[in-house]
């Protein structure tokens, strides 16, 4: 066990955990933010995607000790009142079905649009290739990424 300070959504959390514990379980069970999901435990489904210093990572295969000195962003920190353009696009196009994978889809999209404000279908597919959706919302995800890109032009976030 080790005392680790995690910076999640610009807030510091002091937790006492096994340093080898995946960041996912530290965020969910020790920081107490449940929006980041467990799907596979081996970086295959992307449900656990969070941003580490702005880059999307799989928190299920990232040790909590690695994240200690980094800035972690989770779905809960995106906006206060759903005003993030990616959230707005997701709601406008009614993307989620069961909704379980969508935190990961959204966080990956946020990182994509930061790097590439105007992605093509191919670039969207490449960025979101690691995020599975069993409900099959992929066609809408593509549309919503384009819509979010559009919204960001008038309202940078």
């Amino acid at each position: 066990m080790a005392a680790i300070t995690l910076t999640v959504n610009n807030k510091q959390y002091k937790i006492d955990v096994d340093p080898q514990m995946p960041l996912l379980w530290a965020i969910r069970d020790f920081v107490g933010l449940k929006g980041t999901k467990f799907g596979c435990g081996m970086a295959q489904c992307g449900a656990c995607t969070v941003l580490m210093d702005g880059n999307p990572i799989r928190s299920c295969t990232t040790q909590v000790s690695v994240a200690a000195s980094k800035k972690i962003a989770t779905i809960e920190g995106l906006s206060e009142n759903l005003e993030h353009p990616v959230q707005q696009a997701w709601i406008e196009l009614q993307v989620p079905q069961c909704g379980y994978c969508q935190s990961g889809q959204i966080m990956t999209t946020v990182a994509l649009l930061k790097k590439n404000p105007n992605p093509s279908d191919e670039q969207i597919d490449a960025a979101l290739q690691g995020n599975l959706c069993r409900c099959g919302t992929y066609p809408r995800i593509r549309k919503a990424v384009h819509r979010a890109a559009e919204l960001m032009k008038t309202k940078p976030f």
Partner: protein
């Protein structure tokens, strides 16, 4: 919807209670094995591990014992589980091979079976007809694999009341079934239904709820059990495979006069019910094959039961997901034998009366520009399916690409009486198609030495975003007062329409799922 974009939607896996323990359960890797003994001394040395106790996974007629590690946090429970030494008695089931089982199904196809539906005189019409054809189709078992793994938080309280927090499709049957199983009154059980991180039929089965309830009772504390993805993939239940032996005969004018679909399969009903009657036909396993609107004067559909010891389950659109493939591909084979256009051939069996099926096929013809020539190397295929959950149809266009094919476009028509929210209908049909493509061209569960070979999404893959072709959904709402299903009918027509398109493009007839779309 907003809750599903800001992390606030509470799924079963997210619920917590004060004082609860997390559980991870080791189950027999071989289906049908029994617990012999276990050594938990190393597990108990892991920091955070509190208790190691057994529980029973009750699923349909099966009861499987498991060893649960209870800990302060889930990671510790997982580490404790890894440190367990468990000895199983495999009961001879370690010799089970799915490949050998499939060979048994092919042998069983030679037995007469029991009649599911009969009209006219199939045997006479078949024997006397000038043109006959036969084919054999095979499909795999598949997993549900919702992204939220099975989980349940149970709190068996001192006063004998039971609180259950879980993602489930069947809260009322849990309330009543568990009251009976555990000697409680239904009113003492409260099922707190959480958001479902995908059901697809998997969460019709509360096996994972039984485990958590027993653990909470034994531990005297709230217990939250979370399955790993490996547990989910390896332990079943699975959608069963169906094998199909099909026969048809055409008269001298190439009109179909006799048709037979014989289904050889293990049964979902048998898995669910210890008193299952093997001597009768099983409507669950012959789903839809006698409900198609095509007019063929002589028909005899049959069912051959096969025993199976692996737990089986309904899956989105159930047995229609496999039988539509064999049935509607064989209808295509009949059209080829008759030298007819596949869509016109289907319509020729629907002449003289209006039907929902005819309406769907005509709409598909219109929206897909069926008669417009396609580029060189392309092919298009059609299929429809009517069953208890509704009616839908697809036209699929493919192009040849290297040694395989690429899906270029999918036109979907769903036939509904009344439409409440067309946007939801469209989303459901798109999702059903994505799930159907996965089942047609990916994975499939394999079992050797009694154990499932697949374990996680790397070897039991799902379709990814780059693999999704353009999908165009058309809703027919001309069915009057009928109200039909939305979530399931989008699924069954995809595999046969795809394989019929592949035949049109390449001349290769696919009779076994899954297949590798990159190597036709």
């Amino acid at each position: 919807m907003p809750l599903k974009t800001n992390g606030k939607a509470v799924f079963g896996i997210d619920v917590e209670l004060p004082g609860m323990l997390y559980a991870s359960i080791e189950r027999c890797p071989v289906f049908g094995g029994k617990l012999q003994r276990y050594d938990d001394s190393a597990a108990k040395k892991i920091k955070g591990v509190q208790q190691v106790i057994t529980c029973e996974r009750i699923i349909g007629k099966y009861r499987f014992e498991g060893v649960a590690v209870l800990a302060d946090n889930y990671w510790a429970a997982l580490q404790g589980r890894k440190a367990l030494q468990v000895t199983w008695d495999f009961q001879g089931k370690e010799n089970f091979s799915l490949k050998a089982y499939e060979q048994q199904l092919r042998e069983l196809a030679k037995t007469p079976g029991v009649v599911d539906h009969s009209k006219g005189d199939f045997d006479k019409a078949w024997a006397e007809a000038p043109r006959q054809l036969e084919a054999f189709y095979e499909t795999p078992m598949v997993s549900h694999s919702p992204i939220e793994p099975m989980n349940c938080l149970a709190d068996w309280k001192q006063d004998g009341k039971l609180d259950i927090f879980t993602s489930t499709q069947v809260p009322f049957s849990i309330k009543n079934g568990f009251a009976k199983e555990y000697g409680l009154k239904p009113e003492d059980i409260t099922v707190h239904v959480q958001f479902n991180g995908g059901g697809f039929g998997r969460r019709l089965y509360p096996d994972y709820v039984h485990e958590a309830v027993q653990l909470s009772k034994k531990a005297g504390r709230p217990v939250k059990s979370i399955w790993t993805r490996e547990d989910d993939t390896r332990q079943g239940p699975y959608r069963p495979m169906t094998f199909s032996a099909l026969k048809a005969a055409l008269d001298a004018d190439n009109k179909p006069v006799a048709f037979q679909h014989k289904v050889i399969a293990p049964s979902i009903g048998d898995s669910s019910n210890a008193n299952y009657d093997k001597t009768r036909s099983d409507g669950g396993m012959t789903e839809g094959i006698s409900e198609q609107a095509y007019e063929i004067p002589n028909m005899k559909n049959l069912y051959v039961h096969a025993d199976m010891h692996v737990p089986l389950a309904a899956w989105r659109a159930v047995t229609s997901t496999t039988l539509a493939f064999s049935h509607e591909c064989f209808i295509d084979e009949m059209a080829v034998k008759a030298g007819a256009d596949p869509l016109a051939f289907r319509l020729s069996m629907l002449e003289g009366k209006s039907s929902d099926t005819k309406r769907v096929l005509l709409k598909l013809k219109e929206v897909s520009n069926w008669e417009k020539p396609l580029p060189q190397g392309w092919g298009r295929g059609v299929a429809q399916w009517e069953f208890f959950a509704g009616l839908g149809g697809n036209v699929v266009e493919v192009s040849t690409k290297g040694a395989g094919v690429q899906i270029e476009k999918i036109y979907a028509v769903i036939d509904l009486g009344t439409v409440v929210n067309p946007d939801t209908v469209e989303a459901q049909v798109e999702g059903a198609i994505v799930m159907a493509i996965t089942a047609a061209i990916k994975g499939g569960i394999q079992i050797e030495n009694g154990r499932t070979l697949q374990s996680n999404y790397h070897n039991n893959p799902l379709l990814r975003i780059s693999e999704v072709p353009p999908i165009e959904v058309h809703i027919l709402a001309e069915g009057g007062e009928k109200i039909k299903g939305v979530g399931e009918p989008g699924l069954p027509p995809l595999a046969p329409a795809l394989c019929n398109a592949i035949f049109a493009a390449t001349g290769k007839r696919i009779r076994r799922l899954p297949f590798d779309i990159t190597k036709i």
